[in-house]
């Protein structure tokens, strides 16, 4: 049985951890633990004894854990302590390749599990997190013994969480990935099927696993018990057949491609007014500020684009989350992380004017952006004009927003009206921004921050500030 959200002394059960009768996650004094119930005992022992756990953790496909103690609680049989993931992110915050890599990871784990006589009992995208730059499976309770002839119980969930959004992003519009924010158990297959272009019917994999899948669901959704029984005779799947099916599914996912570019920000660094000198000088200034900013656990770079300046922090060994609103920018950033094997930077999609809210049951299953902060250091470079001019947010509100996310220091760049980028934003609208001045900016931020340093950026009218959060 899963207890429902009680707290004993300093233990809190995670609000998202209630659906699985085999166990639950809780925090004790800030440390994350997973309690395994007696019902999972057989499968857990299989997981370890069959060699599957070792096979997966050796390749960093599954999050490793240590067994902590045999819990004397009558319901809980064993407690394990998984290796903590620094920043929890969600599928609607991932770029195309991040979601695709998570999908391929899930299938690859399923293949290895089948080789060890086990099988994944769910294929939710929330079972995957990004850890040290790579996707990793975090649900140790997801393995069950494989019985030959049994169809894969997680097939539908896999298609909804991975195949449907990936296909829509690749074949229709990249922005359709955001549908995952509304459909937290994956996209309904009939919805995806309806939205896809007719061309998608020519791809055998998409035809079978998506279009046909959607229709079989509809056909049997309301069926009589007797029809179900006869129909279920058709649902035996041999091991070889299952592997063939999964292999085809993997090939279908692997073939999906999306080219970044043709979005607003993909050519940013070509159109901006940075001379090489200005660029290097800004970089150096950020390095100085980061060194001055004191001890830091984590840095959030807001509006990071492809992560050029995020890497000033991450290359110093600081774990940096590089947020940006543009799917192309996040995609390019992630591809670099993957290519170079970077472990201290995590690119994610985020619209600061509409950040990830709390979602799911009780609006608490998936944490809002605020729930995952505050962090020691926030960087907000070349950002303020997009928020205050394009989005009409007054300086006071921006300052208050950053103050909520920031625990210690803020590195922020003021972009004046004289800057060519701001001129561009004002080209097609009436300039109602009388308050958009450096003085007003400093006044507004001084309500929440101490303005420690202000350095002009060489070759531009911009000013880089180092601010300290007021206690």
């Amino acid at each position: 049985m899963t207890p429902s959200g009680f707290t004993t002394s300093s233990q809190t059960i995670l609000p998202a951890s209630f659906r699985d009768p085999d166990g639950y996650l809780y925090r004790s004094d800030g440390v994350l633990f997973r309690a395994l119930n007696v019902s999972y005992r057989g499968n857990y022992e299989n997981l370890i004894n069959s060699g599957l756990y070792n096979a997966l953790t050796e390749k960093r496909l599954l999050i490793p854990h240590t067994e902590v103690d045999i819990n004397k609680d009558v319901h809980s049989w064993l407690t394990i302590q998984p290796e903590p993931v620094t920043f929890i992110s969600y599928p609607y915050e991932w770029c195309f390749s991040q979601l695709k890599d998570a999908a391929l990871l899930t299938l690859d784990i399923q293949f290895i599990a089948l080789n060890h006589g086990m099988c994944l009992k769910d294929a939710s995208a929330y079972n995957v997190q990004f850890h040290q730059g790579r996707p990793i499976f975090i649900d140790t309770l997801s393995f069950e013994s494989y019985v030959d002839g049994m169809p894969w119980v997680a097939y539908r969930q896999f298609c909804q969480h991975f195949l449907a959004p990936l296909t829509l992003m690749a074949k229709r519009d990249i922005r359709l990935g955001q549908l995952l924010r509304n459909h937290i158990d994956g996209l309904p297959l009939d919805l995806a099927s309806n939205l896809l272009p007719k061309r998608s019917w020519t791809s055998v994999g998409i035809l079978m696993h998506l279009h046909m899948h959607a229709r079989t669901q509809q056909s049997f959704a309301d069926s009589h018990a007797s029809l179900s029984k006869t129909a279920l005779k058709f649902s035996k799947v041999s091991r070889v057949g299952l592997i063939g099916l999964l292999d085809g599914l993997r090939k279908t996912i692997a073939k999906l491609e999306w080219k970044p570019g043709n979005t607003e920000w993909s050519d940013y660094y070509n159109d901006t007014n940075y001379s090489d000198n200005a660029f290097q000088s800004k970089r150096r200034q950020i390095e100085v500020f980061l060194d001055n900013a004191g001890p830091k656990n984590e840095v959030w770079d807001l509006g990071a684009n492809i992560g050029l300046f995020s890497r000033v922090a991450s290359e110093r060994g600081l774990f940096t989350v590089a947020f940006d609103i543009d799917p192309s920018a996040v995609e390019i950033n992630y591809r670099q992380v993957r290519k170079d094997g970077e472990t201290t930077i995590l690119p994610l999609l985020l619209d600061l004017t509409n950040p990830s809210p709390g979602l799911g049951w009780n609006s608490a299953e998936r944490d809002s952006l605020f729930d995952r902060g505050p962090v020691d250091c926030i960087m907000a470079l070349a950002l303020i004009h997009h928020i205050s001019i394009s989005n009409n947010v007054p300086f006071e509100k921006v300052a208050s927003f950053f103050a909520q996310l920031c625990r210690k220091s803020l590195i922020i760049e003021f972009v004046p009206k004289s800057d060519s980028q701001v001129q561009r934003l004002l080209r097609s609208r009436v300039d109602i921004f009388d308050n958009y001045t450096r003085d007003q900016f400093e006044k507004a931020f001084a309500l929440h921050f101490l303005l420690e340093r202000a350095e002009p950026i060489e070759g531009s009218d911009r000013v880089l500030y180092l601010m300290r959060r007021k206690p």
Binding site: T216, S219, A221, L232, F234, V237, I243, L245, D247
Partner: protein, 81 residues
Amino acid sequence: MRANTIINGIILSLCILFIAPPAYAYLDPGTGSAILQGVLGGVAAIAVILKLYWYRILRFLGLSKKRSALEQKVKGGGSEQ
């Protein structure tokens, strides 16, 4: 007998593909997926077995040396076990 099941499966899937009622029913999402797997799995099993024989022939003729990825998935990984 096996072929009969496959043919039945194909006919069933064609019917499903072209005669789909609107999805306003009280949903049982599991049955449809399981049946689809039965159909696809049956076809896939034949395809896999044929591919495995093909790889065997290639190795016999000396045209290919290593185990293909598919064989690893079906027969078990080389290094892990």
